[in-house]
Amino acid sequence: MELFTNQILAGIATGAIYACMALAVVMIYQAIDHLNFAQGEMAMFSTFISWQLMQWGIPYWGAFVLTLAISFAGGIAIERLLFKPLAKAPILTNVAGFIALFAIINSVAGLIWDFTIKQYPTPFGSHPFLGSQLISTHQAGMIGVTILLLIGLFFFFQFTRIGLAMRAAASLPESARLVGINTSWMIALGWGMAAAIGSIAGMLIAPVVFLEPNMMGGVLIYGFAAAVLGGLTSPFGAVIGGFLVGIFENLAGTYIPGVGNELKLPIALALIITVLVVKPAGLFGRPIVKRV
């Protein structure tokens, strides 16, 4: 039994990483209706920017805030320059665009900061949390930040004019335009926010997985899986999905014989698909009813 609770705790700790990333994924899905395959690379690039700022002597929180601002602006710039012209192109062409963006960011980051692994500082310290060896203060801090972020987003979308406008632009663009919402800028704003949330995720994850251009590969896959599991329309579902994926993965690694680190991912994915077959819109997603 102790092994079981310990594994669940460890699962929650890794789940926090996925939850963070899933939140960014859902954010952009809300705004543009696609999964952005380059999301992880954008977060990685932001994290490198914050690292560079710290190398130049700016304190952690200063670098944190600056990075948020830069990522927000960067997200908007990417949308305006690269994806606005593609708005009318077929969806699959857009997906190819994400893959191209992925290749570009990864390669440029590798050229500027090279592929060696770098240490990344944490503001929370890495002592055992409340005397438990399984969750460090950093991981607890990460869970805390994720939950704060979730609450912040909830208030933004439910209680501000601009949040309402974004929701309107995402669910019914034509009607939104008729009531005077600039839907094109709402999409850009969505990109900006997704990039900023991604940068928070990156800066929280970097102390755990270390900083290098390929750090996000695995994390993004789990982030997608978590977002899909929780339901792509629900930020709350995405966070819960993140924790569930973390727990699944740890339990599968411990209890199913013959499953090493290698098979953890396929098993976690298989489980998610099983859930999706039963509940196609995800656990907390809203089933979409189409008008025929």
Partner: protein
């Protein structure tokens, strides 16, 4: 507002391509065929090998095109079918001692069954959810191939070495050239099969499902059957391509069939034009040659150069090679008139 009552007006994932627009006219087909037959006679062995790979990836892109362009389903798991096909051929050749040509239909049938079965649970999923499911298949496949239980057959992490076949009947041809013509013959056969498939009742059913699933079922199309059938056919053709790939590369290993391959095939389809079968060969050329060109332009930034080239292509021709072909046709038409 009740949570379930949200009405979404949504464009279909894959745009409708009329049946006639999916293939080439007789004249252009013959020119293309003549080129494919004659070119290898004048180039070096290494280039012949690359041309063979061009045809093989072309087949794999064609298979994805039938699935996505034909029936409107999306797959990031083609690398899994390609891998199963490659391993089937390799195991039959090396452990059973079967003739290489005979292993291909078997690889096709096994992959057809595999794809058909995989299509069953995938029926309930669409769009990004289907993408995730197929993606899971692609990430799982290399791990499954490495599993200890299959090691006596698959060779585990090391993989299997495959012997390259000689030209039969004492034909005066290098192995590479023989393999090229063999691949070409298989490719042409499968291309003709695919064109006819899409023209047939089944093809029309695929396209009806792609354009509007509910309307299709109202017209009496068995949606579940045809969706899984599309998966099966696509997997089967990919399996044959995989088998040919194993023979051409002379080596199979689990890490050759990762998600990267599936993504390349997807890019090939987009560049070639979704739903335009002849575009598959253009897409295949893109995924084989453009990474090399990018490497040639800048070693350190090859990824960025590849990305920029890809962006250029999708900015200039968002509908892929099909768009180029249509424009060319219009210009030719004007020249004839004037």
């Amino acid at each position: 507002m009740s949570a379930i009552q949200e009405v979404v007006t949504e464009a279909p994932t894959v745009e409708a391509v009329p049946k006639r627009a999916m293939t080439l006219g007789a004249g252009s087909s013959l020119v293309m065929l003549a080129l494919l037959i004659l070119v290898p006679l004048f180039v070096k062995n290494f280039i012949i090998f690359q041309l063979t790979m061009l045809l093989i990836y072309g087949l794999a892109v064609l298979a994805l095109n039938i699935l996505t362009g034909g029936s409107g389903q999306f797959s990031l798991g083609q690398s899994a079918f390609y891998g199963v096909g490659a391993y089937t051929s390799a195991i039959l050749m090396e452990h059973v001692g079967m003739n290489y040509a005979l292993t291909l239909p078997i690889a096709g049938v096994i992959c057809f069954a595999f794809g058909f079965l995989f299509g069953q649970p995938a029926l309930r999923l669409s769009g990004v959810y289907l993408a995730l499911a197929t993606f899971a298949l692609a990430t799982a496949m290399p791990q499954l191939l490495k599993l200890g239980y299959f090691e006596p057959w698959t060779g585990g992490v090391q993989g299997l070495v495959v012997t390259k076949p000689d030209a039969p009947f004492g034909l005066p041809m290098s192995q590479d050239m023989w393999l090229y013509y063999f691949t070409l013959a298989v490719t042409i056969a499968i291309y003709i099969f695919s064109v006819n498939l899409l023209k047939s009742r089944s093809g029309r059913a695929f396209m009806a499902i792609r354009d509007n699933e509910i309307a299709a079922s109202a017209m009496g199309v068995d949606v579940a059957l045809y969706k899984t059938l599309a998966f099966g056919v696509s997997a089967g053709i990919t399996g044959v391509a995989g088998g040919l790939g194993a023979i051409a590369v002379q080596f199979v290993a689990p890490d050759s069939y990762t998600i990267t391959l599936a993504i390349s095939l997807f890019l090939g389809m987009v560049v070639g034009g979704v739903g335009w079968l002849p575009g598959s060969i253009v897409g295949s050329a893109f995924i084989i040659f453009v990474p090399n060109i990018a490497e040639g332009i800048s070693k350190g930034l090859s990824g960025a150069v590849f990305g920029v080239l890809l962006f250029l292509v999708i900015f200039l021709v968002p509908h892929g090679a099909r768009q180029v072909a249509i424009v060319a046709q219009q210009i030719l038409g004007k020249l004839k008139k004037g």
